[in-house]
Symmetry: C2
């Protein structure tokens, strides 16, 4: 398991916060770009000295997920039995598997209990599972742009992305490693990424940013002519350059399989295990994880409550045109409710 930490763990290990990353994120949640980190931390505005996750006071940890391709074991890792990459033999993992691995990381760091577990999208799924699986090890919970159960539409998008990758002959059933640099399913992964990008953004921001602008002059061919087309092609290429297709398939599948109710008698029963305070944040323009899903989650979290505890849950609507990606972009609007949650978690 690859992870990054910021700040110093207290003597009584009471100041640890776990940040969980989303689908194509990694453990570099904060800090500048540098070796191994081509971009600054994906939540850099929230994590650091004097920021809401104040690393002068807190010990912040972010773990790359199991099955990923940014340091933790995944399909591109070497199988010790064969000395070859796992490839197609790497199993599907679940959000619960990711959390189990993070629990091992926590123990190795001497952290029995997180003051807070926070995350958005797939990161929010992990945070939620943390509180259900290990209710005594989570002091508070911050869930952004996520859901208690993947919806049919979310599974649909995920399925189409998988089909695009699998249809690429260079995918070779998942055993494309070592065939030569640049020989993975680049076209398929690029198509998958492009369609995901449209679901992450919104009609509103596309209109504002691209509208019907053309690159040079309007071209009456099948070739790229509109700015939005160039943008999508660029986004597709960019992901292909930094992400492994086998990981992409498995992490999407993990999200499809995400269902806090599974094996627990229902959503309400599962969430009844959670006694800690929580914040559920929704971005008003999120078409992929629409606000009604966070509202349902909030209602289930509020309605539960273990005897003797008061699991106060707060619903926050982020006013943003940025769609699902709002949880990465609207850090100012996330910071205030996150600060109040931490005050509560630390009994201030």
């Amino acid at each position: 398991m690859a992870f990054e930490t910021w700040g110093t763990l207290d003597a009584d290990a009471s100041n640890a916060v776990l940040v969980c990353h989303a689908l194509t994120g990694d453990s570099h949640a904060a800090g500048p770009s540098g070796a191994g980190h081509p971009t600054p931390g994906w939540w850099d505005a929230l994590i650091g000295p004097g920021k809401v996750l104040d690393t002068d006071e807190l010990f912040v940890v972010c773990v790359n997920v199991l099955g990923g391709c940014q340091g933790s074991t995944g399909p591109a890792s070497c199988d010790p039995e064969t000395s070859l990459p796992y490839g197609s033999s790497f199993p599907v993992v679940s959000i619960r598997d990711m959390v189990r691995c993070q629990a091992e990381v926590a123990l190795s760091l001497g952290i029995d209990r997180w003051a807070s577990v926070v995350g958005g999208s797939m990161g929010g799924m992990q945070a939620l599972e943390w509180a259900v699986m290990y209710p005594d090890r989570v002091g508070s919970l911050f869930l952004a742009s996520t859901t208690a159960q993947a919806s049919a539409q979310q599974i649909a998008w995920s399925h189409i992305g998988r089909r695009a990758v699998e249809a690429d002959p260079a995918f070779r059933g998942g055993d494309y490693y070592g065939v030569g640099v640049g020989n993975g399913p680049q076209h398929g992964l690029s198509v998958a990424r492009m369609l995901a990008m449209v679901t992450y953004r919104s009609d509103e921001v596309f209109r504002d940013r691209f509208d019907r602008n053309v690159q040079n002059q309007l071209d009456f061919t099948l070739g790229r002519t509109f700015d939005i087309e160039g943008y999508l092609d660029y986004q597709g290429r960019k992901l292909v350059g930094r992400f492994d297709a086998n990981s992409y398939l498995r992490l999407n599948r993990a999200m499809d399989l995400h269902d806090v109710a599974r094996g627990r008698g229902g959503v309400a029963e599962a969430l009844a295990r959670i006694g800690c305070p929580s914040v559920v944040a929704a971005v008003r323009s999120d078409a992929l994880y629409p606000p009604y899903q966070q509202h349902e989650l909030f209602e289930a979290l509020s309605g539960t409550g273990t005897p003797g505890r008061s699991p106060a849950s707060t619903f926050v609507e982020i006013d943003s045109p940025h769609g699902h990606d709002g949880f990465l972009i609207e850090t100012e609007q996330l910071a205030a409710p996150m600060a109040r949650l931490l005050e509560r978690a630390f009994g201030r």
Copy 2:
């Protein structure tokens, strides 16, 4: 040009209605399935004896679009110069090109003026262009689930579908005919169709119909396990069996290029040419052509008006969870405003 007609043209050719089909539609707008028509007419509930487009009184015409693959000349047609299918040499066509061809069909049928031109989605684009290009030849206009200009998000979806087709090695740059049955870009076209299907429906109907239902038992692999996945695969296969990929690319491109403003000084200036009464219908759950687009269209149509005419436009919101496909499904809700428009068109 392939077309189908229902009813009888009056002696003074005053009872003709043109129905324009959408992307993968065809000229079989009404009537049962049969030879060459594997499915019943796509607007059968609206067209026929005693129906709103009453073929006891009206002469209804539906023309397969130029560039399509259901009878009219398209990329799969034989190029007389080479005696081979056009394939990659078939040009991109515009909505205006489609309308010009329909105008020729009208003249060949002895129709100088349509009592009404009606259509949804790409069909609505054609209807709108009819009224802008030939304002004296259109008596009334019914526009459902359409827009004055394709938006960046619509172009985005279209672009990704094209990339999926082009990435399929079986596409061969568009020259895949004659290589053998079943050798076109089936995987690519199937991915394009699957993603289009998600944009045509809605989260709401997917939840109601599929939710997280599984086909057999929940399978922790990358294989198909959820009902929604089987549905999408089926929809992909179905289109591959009935539609030509080269047509799909070009008709999508025609929609991207759709812009009533182009060469006319702006949307308002273009729509100022329209003096006939119109109805603009929006489906409340349409995420692909959201209701604000029809509302903008309605406002532009209402605000215009040639001197001496009163181009009354009516905005109708269809209350339906069915998303963009609502224009095909909610025929009862479409029938009432369509009937009122026809009454007006015929001066009743």
